[in-house]
């Protein structure tokens, strides 16, 4: 009875946001979008109930000793030797993090109701938020790599759509597309890992390559296999977690509405990569070189982000870099083989950072109150660190931080020649078709503008 109740609660935690997404999406597609009041009431009810379901499940997991409990939602499809099983995994890691996810999403949904009141894209925002919540819950509760990938893609698309939410201006759209480009490129790592795992284990189920229970494992993969899988997963993490050299997109992502920035880049989306690496801990244990790379990238990102964040002049970007610093440190912890500390770090950081981002529109008011309370200007922190460096070095570091280490320019240096080559190929295509079509012979022009 208890196990069936436990399973039903975990299934409900996925089913409720999915039902909300379906309801809001269908209403929009039928050109009958729900009113703000109804949308808000449904969102509160769904995320409240989902949080309750997960809390009860987490409570039940203690007497049931659910250290590694898999829940099958059935075989989604079967073809030849490939069987795609919709499989969830309920263990301390997934239950803890999914509960945090739903609580924070619920808080953000309540906040968004007022923040976006009478905004023309109110309904569009909530559809994207529901898509995100379903995606992140799939990533966290997944019991197989394919389910992770499905959720991962949903998180990516909803993120790009919300960055471009204020789409009347070109900048949010450009930044949404840039972020999506980084996501799509680094998602290849996760896709590659999924295909490789299937190739090795003939299934994507976690049991087959992560061992019996998290965090011990041990992974049955050989050291070489684990290194290949781990490297691909780390690549995916670098993109989603905005780690070096892909950090530039995070500041661009601040173009989205503040509540979505809070939940995506303060709390959950930015931690999705770290969560993935944490889940894949047993694979990293088998691949010390990849774990070392995680430490290097994490440390590099933490140094980069703390420097750049200190030179930013707007609060959202400064908070984004502060967030990045912590994610970098979490990656270092994971790379060093710690498992519970990074989890606790993620829970604490996600909660504090989303609160800070949600408060950021009231920053001036908050500062004023604080200054009134202390009876003067607030003291500037960190000066003793700056004094350790000579002024010339300080100026250079400041200039580098202000330019955000020119990371996006570096990426553009890779992209621009590739686009140039494609444009040259396009010209060739046009010439070939013009020649074949006898344009020179009869003088007629090939229309080029669609």
């Amino acid at each position: 009875m208890s196990w069936s109740l436990f399973d039903a609660l975990v299934k409900a935690a996925l089913g409720l946001p999915a039902a909300l997404l379906f309801t809001l999406g269908a209403a929009s597609l039928l050109s009958r979008p729900l009113t703000e009041r109804l949308t808000s009431a449904l969102a509160r009810a769904v995320f409240g109930l989902t949080a309750l379901a997960l809390l009860i499940a987490a409570g039940l997991s203690v007497p049931l000793e659910a250290q590694h409990h898999t829940i099958s939602l059935g075989h989604w499809f079967v073809a030849g030797a490939t069987s795609f099983e919709l499989r969830l995994l309920a263990d301390p890691l997934s239950l803890t993090f999914s509960t945090l996810c739903v609580v924070l999403i619920g808080v953000v949904a309540v906040f968004s109701d007022r923040y976006l009141h009478r905004e023309p894209g109110y309904n569009r925002y909530f559809v994207s938020l529901c898509l995100f919540s379903l995606g992140i819950l799939l990533v966290v509760l997944a019991g197989s790599i394919e389910v992770v990938f499905a959720g991962w893609e949903m998180v990516g698309l909803s993120s790009a759509l919300l960055i471009a939410f204020f789409h009347e201006r070109p900048a949010p759209v450009r930044n949404g597309l840039w972020t999506l480009a980084v996501y799509r490129t680094t998602d290849l790592g996760l896709l590659g890992a999924a295909v490789l795992i299937h190739h090795i284990a003939h299934t994507g189920n976690f049991d087959a390559f992560l061992g019996a229970s998290w965090p011990e494992g041990p992974s049955p993969l050989s050291s070489g296999q684990a290194s290949a899988v781990g490297a691909l997963l780390l690549f995916a993490t670098l993109g989603k977690g905005a780690q070096l050299p892909f950090s530039g997109w995070l500041a661009r992502a601040m173009e989205g509405p503040t509540p979505s920035s809070a939940i995506f880049y303060g709390a959950l989306s930015v931690h999705a990569g770290a969560f993935l690496l944490l889940r894949m801990g047993p694979v990293l244990d088998q691949a010390p070189a990849v774990a070392a790379m995680a430490v290097v990238f994490g440390l590099g990102t933490a140094i980069h982000a703390t420097m750049v964040g200190r030179a930013q002049s707007d609060i959202k970007t400064a908070l984004a870099y502060a967030s990045l610093t912590q994610v970098g440190i979490i990656l270092v912890e994971i790379g060093l083989g710690l498992r519970w500390i990074p989890l606790i770090h993620m829970l604490g950081h996600a909660s504090v950072r989303s609160l800070q981002l949600l408060r950021s529109p009231s920053l001036l008011h908050d500062f004023q109150r604080l200054e009134v309370a202390v009876g003067g200007h607030l003291p500037r922190t960190g000066r003793y660190l700056e004094r350790l460096l000579p002024p010339r070095v300080r100026r250079r570091l400041y200039a580098a931080a202000l330019a955000r280490w020119r990371l996006d320019e570096l990426l553009l240096r890779v992209i621009t020649p590739a686009l140039g080559l494609l444009r040259a190929l396009d010209r060739l295509e046009h010439r070939w078709c013009a020649w074949l079509g006898g344009r020179a012979a009869d003088g007629s022009e090939v229309r080029r503008d669609g």
């Binding site: 929009s28 499809f77 030849g80 490939t82 009347e168 597309l177 896709l191 503008d449 669609g450």
Partner: protein, 465 residues
């Protein structure tokens, strides 16, 4: 003993659009449109009936007393099997939606009659496995786009020539391949058939006609010509069962290159139509890749992706046609704005767009998962290129979406909301994409059985050789 059902289901399906085209020969645009919608609706109904009958008892043979070519070949030419039954529904559905959403400003009675003709030819192609009939349908199928390009006058002439050269070469190769099959020149027949399929599917380097056609012909016509992917049907029925593995490997590698090249080229296009043409080329090439894997996963994935990419690409092309009718020529190197004037069309465009590149929740995701699984065993190194093609394709789709629907709102613009007919048409395609995306099991089971049949037929042919 095999049970037999005598009913002219298939010949009726082919005759209905032809009768509608003839009956409206002198009619105006609106009458012809109404007739075309009714004809397509009847065809969808008949095709669903055929599918249901076949699924209820797969051993039941359908005898068509009106099969028009039995006297010529000495045996029935029209047949219903596991492969053709869902394809007929797919073809009839795309034809129906193409006529339902056709914008009034772009409509002419002649275009509608050509679409009716194309519908009949398409259904006849999917209802037969007789190579000679398929060759004839192959040639007839190219007529509607040819006539449309000719109607465009001097502006369409270069594209007409490009299309005619490629289609002429493809038809010659197909007819040659069919004629030589079974004779002394087996190898030449194989090469010709493979070449024909590569041309018709727009596989690199024989692809240049495809973006040209999408750029210059009415989108309804070019979509109806390409979305059902007749080349894939020829590959499934004539190439997979008998052609040498080396030929299939060549097509497989060429398909991977096409997928990558098409999705990358879509990123640098300025015109929306041409960008769509490259996305089409890229994603539909993945179907061929799955076939060439010759594994249960690969072929099932190819069949699934054939239907999903066909539906999604058709939806994307038709949405572009509808938008173009409201706004004129569309570019993708600037932001057009106007989301608030066409929110539903923007949403549908997004759904079809992400469906095209296999986003979770659409049937394309299912097909792509199996395709990649199949490809990694056969082309382990090159499967990275498949994943990259998918990534770039997704980016290209989103670039088009953002450029067409985001940007500063148009001041004082009239509403451009979809009509009920258009909404219904897009909803039909969207529902197919999403319902099978969420509940793919029945479709995959059917396609898995078809894949097993195709692979069995190949094993028998290889053994016989």
């Amino acid at each position: 003993m095999t049970a037999e059902l005598t009913f002219p289901l298939l010949s009726l399906m082919i005759a209905v659009p032809l009768v509608a085209a003839l009956a409206t020969a002198l009619g105006g645009t609106l009458v012809t449109r109404r007739a075309a919608i009714v004809a397509a609706l009847i065809d969808v109904g008949l095709a669903i009936a055929a599918l249901v009958v076949h699924l209820a008892d797969p051993s039941l043979a359908l005898a068509d007393p009106l099969d028009p070519l039995t006297w010529l070949f000495g045996h029935p030419v029209l047949r219903l099997d596991r492969l053709s039954a869902p394809l007929l529904v797919f073809a009839a559905l795309i034809s129906l939606v193409a006529v339902m959403v056709a914008p009034r400003t772009a409509l002419r009675a002649s275009l509608l009659r050509r679409n009716l003709f194309a519908q009949a030819v398409l259904l006849a192609t999917f209802a037969t496995r007789e190579p000679a009939v398929m060759a004839a349908m192959w040639c007839l199928g190219a007529l509607p786009p040819l006539l449309e390009l000719r109607s465009a006058g001097a502006a369409g002439r270069p594209a007409l020539r490009v299309f005619a050269i490629y289609m002429g070469a493809g038809a010659a190769a197909f007819i040659g391949g069919v004629a030589l099959t079974g004779g002394e020149h087996g190898l030449l027949a194989s090469v010709l058939l493979v070449l024909a399929v590569m041309i018709r599917k727009g596989i690199f380097p024989l692809h240049s006609w495809m973006p040209e056609l999408f750029e210059h012909a009415p989108l309804g016509v070019s979509t109806l010509f390409n979305a059902p992917q007749v080349g894939a049907y020829v590959a499934a029925t004539l190439v997979i069962p008998s052609e040498p593995a080396a030929a299939l490997d060549v097509v497989g590698v060429a398909s991977i290159i096409t997928a990558l090249y098409g999705s990358a080229m879509a990123l640098v296009q300025r015109g929306a139509r041409r960008a769509y043409g490259y996305i089409f080329m890229s994603q539909s090439a993945l179907v061929m890749l799955g076939f060439e894997c010759l594994s249960a996963e690969g072929v099932t994935g190819a069949l699934a992706f054939w239907l999903s990419s066909g539906v999604a690409l058709a939806g994307l092309g038709l949405a572009l046609w509808v938008l173009e009718a409201r706004r004129g020529a569309l570019r993708v190197d600037r932001l057009h704005g106007g989301y608030e004037r066409t929110p539903l069309l923007a949403t549908m465009f997004l759904v079809f767009g992400v469906g095209t590149v296999g986003f979770p929740g659409t049937y394309g995701f299912v097909g792509q998962e199996m395709l990649l699984d199949g490809a990694v065993h056969v082309f382990p190194g090159l499967s990275v290129a498949v994943a990259l093609a998918s990534a770039l394709g997704g980016l290209a789709v989103m670039r088009i979406y953002f450029s067409l629907f985001t940007g500063a709102p148009a001041q004082g613009g009239l509403t451009q909301r979809l009509h009920r007919r258009e909404r219904l048409g897009f909803a039909l395609l969207g529902a197919v994409l999403l319902v099978f995306g969420i509940w793919p099991r029945p479709a995959v089971e059917l396609q898995s059985a078809v894949a097993a049949e195709l692979l069995r037929a190949r094993a028998v042919a290889v053994e016989g050789r």
